[in-house]
């Protein structure tokens, strides 16, 4: 009794693997199992034949040769392009295009850096709290804990420290001395 990995209902799977089989890209075990199925399945065998015929046709038609004239000038044109590519650094659009072609992800990295910078800048502006001018000296839900740790006047001034009647607000009053 033949050991079949692929049963009769697995023909669609086998057909999908026929390409890899003819390309010699299947693992040895899988290849044996597929061959075992082919030995027992006319439909898949016919499909294999079609694929082999198609492959021959494709190979016969895809090979295109470089025309003689173009082949002879090929290296010269390559040299010309090399010379152009190795020209002194140009900082125009072409130069940047070349640089970014070799490192396509450079575009994405640059875009990411730029986007992040813009986001940070925007976030700074948006998140920065703007203090609304105090419109009232009543407690704004915050316990009044303004502390005057030290205060002193100047050579021609003295200061007085007092609070509002409700003790909410500290006031530092400067008394300028009369100048003679």
């Amino acid at each position: 009794m033949k050991a079949l990995l692929f049963g009769r209902s697995d023909c669609s799977t086998v057909v999908q693997r026929l390409g890899a089989y003819v390309d010699g890209q299947l693992h040895a075990n899988r290849q044996k199992q597929l061959e075992a199925h082919l030995g027992d399945c006319q439909r898949c065998t016919a499909e294999l034949q079609r694929l082999l015929t198609l492959r021959d046709h494709i190979r016969g038609s895809l090979a295109v040769s470089l025309p003689g004239e173009d082949a002879a000038r090929f290296w010269d044109n390559v040299e010309r392009k090399i010379h152009k590519a190795k020209a002194p650094p140009r900082w125009g659009v072409d130069r940047f295009r070349e640089m970014f072609w070799f490192y396509p992800k450079l575009w994405w990295a640059s875009a990411a850096v730029l986007g992040t910078t813009v986001l940070l800048f925007t976030a700074d502006l948006v998140l920065r709290p703007s203090i609304p001018p105090p419109t009232s000296l009543a407690p704004m839900g915050v316990p009044p804990r303004t502390v005057v740790e030290s205060v002193e006047g100047g050579p021609n001034s003295s200061v007085v420290l007092f609070s509002t009647p409700d003790q909410q607000l500290k006031i530092i009053w400067v008394l300028e001395r009369e100048r003679s």
């Binding site: 992040t116 419109t135 006047g153 009053w173």
Partner: protein
């Protein structure tokens, strides 16, 4: 033929990388912003307090002015300016004050010294220039160290002469 060399469409992997990068960085925007240097937002509302009759004050300031009137014996409070700014801890923020012997010679200096949770320690100085023997000399009118609650009640410094009244400066601070 001009070879079309460049293509942004280098695959979804490139785009995905950018999206992932941005999404990963987004939660860190604020901490990144803060980690740079602690900053304090400062504001000074500069009033001219006098007994001269004047125009009706801004309705938004009515409550504030009513409070000031209770403590400061002037009938009229005119808002002259309300400068604000942001500065790093340890750095001075300056704003001009009207008056003084020398034009533009009177300055309010606020220096955040430290931030302790919601309390901001600030050194506040009012400095003005005077003419002494023909030379301009800077002298301090008041030098005080305060601790204000971030976004909380302000402190008032008043008294420097100006026109027909005195200056009253309402100082508030906030640490974002």
């Amino acid at each position: 033929m001009t070879t079309q060399r460049f293509h942004l469409a280098s695959g979804w992997r490139g785009r995905g990388l950018v999206i992932v990068l941005i999404l990963v960085l987004l939660p860190f925007l604020r901490p990144i912003h803060l980690a740079a240097a602690p900053t304090v937002v400062l504001q000074a509302q500069i009033f001219l307090a006098s007994n001269q009759p004047g125009a009706a004050p801004d309705a938004r300031l009515a409550g504030l002015i009513a409070q000031l009137r209770k403590a400061i014996p002037y009938s009229n409070f005119l808002l002259l300016a309300a400068p604000s700014g942001r500065t790093e801890v340890g750095k001075v923020w300056r704003t001009e004050l009207p008056g003084g012997e020398v034009q533009r010679g009177r300055v309010l200096e606020l220096t955040p010294m430290a931030i302790d949770r919601a309390a901001i320690q600030i050194q506040a100085r009012v400095v003005q220039a005077r003419i002494v023997q023909g030379k301009s000399v800077s002298e301090t009118l008041v030098d005080t160290t305060l601790k204000l609650q971030s976004g909380g009640l302000p402190v008032v410094i008043g008294g420097p002469q100006y026109q027909n009244g005195v200056l009253v400066i309402v100082i508030s601070a906030s640490a974002p």
